[in-house]
């Protein structure tokens, strides 16, 4: 079967859990920016956790179904409508041949996810169906979807409507975020005051917030005086170009931190001062411009504890959908 896009929304891409093994040649993991909502969308329709879904940023597409199936919408609060009638989020529901699914205005979060029984069945590129548009890789022709695109849907034996994610397993979206960070990398280029400013500032997310990175405004960080090492460049915030961790926060010139997400540039010459813990990347992926964000320092062990808690939550999600 297929799904046709009547309209594409603002930026709709095909994403799954992402690819690994190519960051050394500059190909980032990609995949859903909110992996929890990806997993939930798939479990709700009986797919494996990592099947490909639609990631719909800020404004949803209009989807036309050519066969009966079951779908689920998770992630940002973006109310689904089937032939104009409201449908719930975090719950699987049936669609019939000829039905049109579209979305109302987004009220919280940034990205909704649409799972379809069988998953979006575009060919894998380097082990994943995720779209990495910068290099025209994966998804449908390596690009965000456009009106008129026809998406192949995978085969599946069962289609179960009426599965629901319990209220306490649905994420809450807020315009005031605390994002946990393991400090390090080049944070020694900050003075003690500069480091304190970084952690004390309530940063505001700018409109520069896409799959590659999230840019914040709100303060200026004091850097130590130093002679830039050979090869680094002239600015005190320059380093000899180095790999960037997924989730790392760089601060060019000491202003406007940039947090790299799953379509990260793999390396560059600006000092990074810390890295968002992996489970909080979902939270960042759901933040819209103007979100007030404070970076909260945690230790590696706290990051690992948070990771264990997240895995338990995913396990409960799986149980609630089975």
């Amino acid at each position: 079967m297929t799904v046709e896009l009547r309209t594409a929304g603002l930026s709709t891409t095909i994403q799954d859990s992402g690819r690994s093994g190519y960051y050394n040649v500059g190909i980032p993991p990609s995949g859903a920016l909110d992996q929890y909502s990806l997993t939930a969308a798939n479990y709700l329709v009986g797919n494996p956790a990592d099947a490909a879904v639609l990631e719909c940023a800020y404004m949803g597409p209009e989807l036309h179904f050519t066969e009966s199936t079951v779908v689920a919408v998770t992630g940002a609060d973006m109310p689904p409508r089937l032939n104009g009638e409201p449908r719930p989020q975090w719950e699987s529901f049936p669609v019939s041949s000829g039905d049109v699914l579209d979305f109302g205005f987004i009220t919280a979060g940034a990205r909704a996810y649409v799972g379809v029984v069988g998953g979006i069945d575009v060919p894998e590129a380097l082990g994943s169906r995720s779209t990495y548009a910068t290099a025209g890789l994966g998804g449908l022709d390596g690009r965000p979807l456009a009106a008129g695109d026809v998406l192949p849907i995978g085969q599946s034996r069962s289609a179960i409507a009426g599965r629901t994610v319990p209220e306490d397993l649905r994420p809450k979206f807020s315009k005031d975020l605390e994002v946990r960070v393991v400090m390090g990398l080049y944070d020694h280029v900050l003075t003690p005051d500069g480091r304190k400013t970084f952690l004390d500032t309530i940063w505001t997310l700018t409109p520069v917030a896409d799959r590659t990175g999230f840019r914040y405004t709100g303060g200026k960080l004091e850097l130590i005086e130093r002679t830039p090492p050979f090869g680094a460049g002239q600015d005190p915030s320059n380093i000899v170009d180095a790999p960037y961790p997924i989730g790392s926060i760089q601060v060019p010139g000491g202003v406007e931190p940039i947090l790299l997400h799953r379509d990260a540039v793999s390396g560059g010459g600006y000092m990074m001062v810390g890295t968002v813990i992996s489970v909080d990347l979902d939270v960042v992926g759901q933040s819209a411009p103007n979100t007030r964000t404070q970076f909260v320092e945690v230790s590696l062990d706290e990051a690992l504890d948070a990771r264990r808690a997240y895995r338990k939550r995913i396990q409960r999600l799986a149980e609630s959908c089975s």
Binding site: T134, A135, G231, V240, S266, V276, S278, L300, L304
Partner: protein, 299 residues
């Protein structure tokens, strides 16, 4: 003879999934070679749970799954490998030496450079004229001669897909150093632009933004997501860390001929497999380079 000095690497957690290792704060081929030796050794041992091994200019990074591989166990293993590798003087790299034809001062990067002049240090000269001036060359011809005479060592692949960062194989005092644009161009760096920032050369693999000075353009594709061209049978990206590049200045007619070959689907980058060790190069850079480049013309 230049001796190898080794510093102790600096280790940092990059959240719960990365370990970042700075071999040296400053760029040198010695630091890079240690990063290559360590990551090569890790690749051979490859414990379960390793997701990405990324050697870079004077650093490297490992991404791992901490549910499978305990972070402190991995950290200890990396420190062990660092000790075993030492100054990497006995490390030999199986790599390639290759030719990249370049149309210097081409119309497309020149047009882009003029369009984004407000982002640049100088409003009245081109990128390559500026680079020639601040590196003490009388004109761009002399600069191009220095840029294309000695080969370049690919010390990192990334930023975007398949983009090589290259460090010229000349003594420190002959390195070409040019600052990056004051603020990056937001778009329209042509695909296959030969760029330069700090002491690094690069080739932009895809069209997009960029902050490096633009000196010319190569007709050689270095990224092919469709894998339809003969150089891309095994991978969508051409470059790997360690590849040694000799730039060959070409004129517009030669450029157009190469583009026709690319379009006909039979263009190949001229390359030879080699084994590279650092010490023979450090002992006699120019002599070593001359012998190295002869390999390209054998057979």
């Amino acid at each position: 003879m230049t001796t190898m000095e080794t510093t102790t690497a600096r280790y940092s957690w990059g959240g719960d999934e990365h370990i970042f290792v700075e071999i040296d704060e400053a760029m040198s081929l010695q630091a890079h070679f240690r990063a290559m030796a360590i990551t090569t050794s890790l690749q051979q041992q490859r414990p379960d749970g390793i997701l990405e091994i990324c050697p870079a200019n004077a650093s490297y990074q490992v991404r791992y799954n901490p549910d499978v591989l305990e972070p402190r166990t991995l950290l200890a293993q990396l420190k062990d490998i660092e000790k075993q590798v030492g100054d990497a003087s006995d490390f030999s790299l199986s790599t390639r030496v290759l030719e990249i034809p370049v149309l210097y001062e081409d119309p497309w990067t020149t047009e882009s450079a003029w369009r984004f002049r407000s982002h640049h240090q100088k409003s009245d000269v081109t990128d390559i004229q500026y680079a020639a001036q601040i590196n003490g060359f009388a004109n761009t011809e002399e600069f191009i001669e220095a840029h294309s005479r000695s080969p370049w060592f690919t010390s990192m692949v990334g930023f975007v897909t398949g983009l090589p960062f290259m460090f010229q194989m000349v003594p420190h005092e002959r390195q070409l150093v040019v600052p990056k644009y004051l603020s990056p161009r937001p778009s329209d760096t042509p695909k296959q632009t030969v760029g330069h920032g700090g002491s690094f050369g690069c080739i932009y693999s895809v069209r997009g933004g960029g902050g490096y000075q633009m000196f010319g353009i190569t007709p050689s594709p270095i990224y092919d997501p469709s894998q339809s061209m003969p150089d891309f049978d095994e991978s969508v990206v051409y470059f790997r860390p360690g590849y040694i590049v000799k730039f060959i200045p070409i004129d517009r007619d030669q450029y157009d001929d190469y583009v026709n070959e690319v379009e006909a689907g039979n263009y190949r980058i001229k390359a030879r497999e080699i084994d590279f060790s650092l010490q023979p190069y450090l002992d006699d850079p120019d002599g070593f380079n001359a012998r190295l480049l002869e390999v390209l013309h054998d057979g």
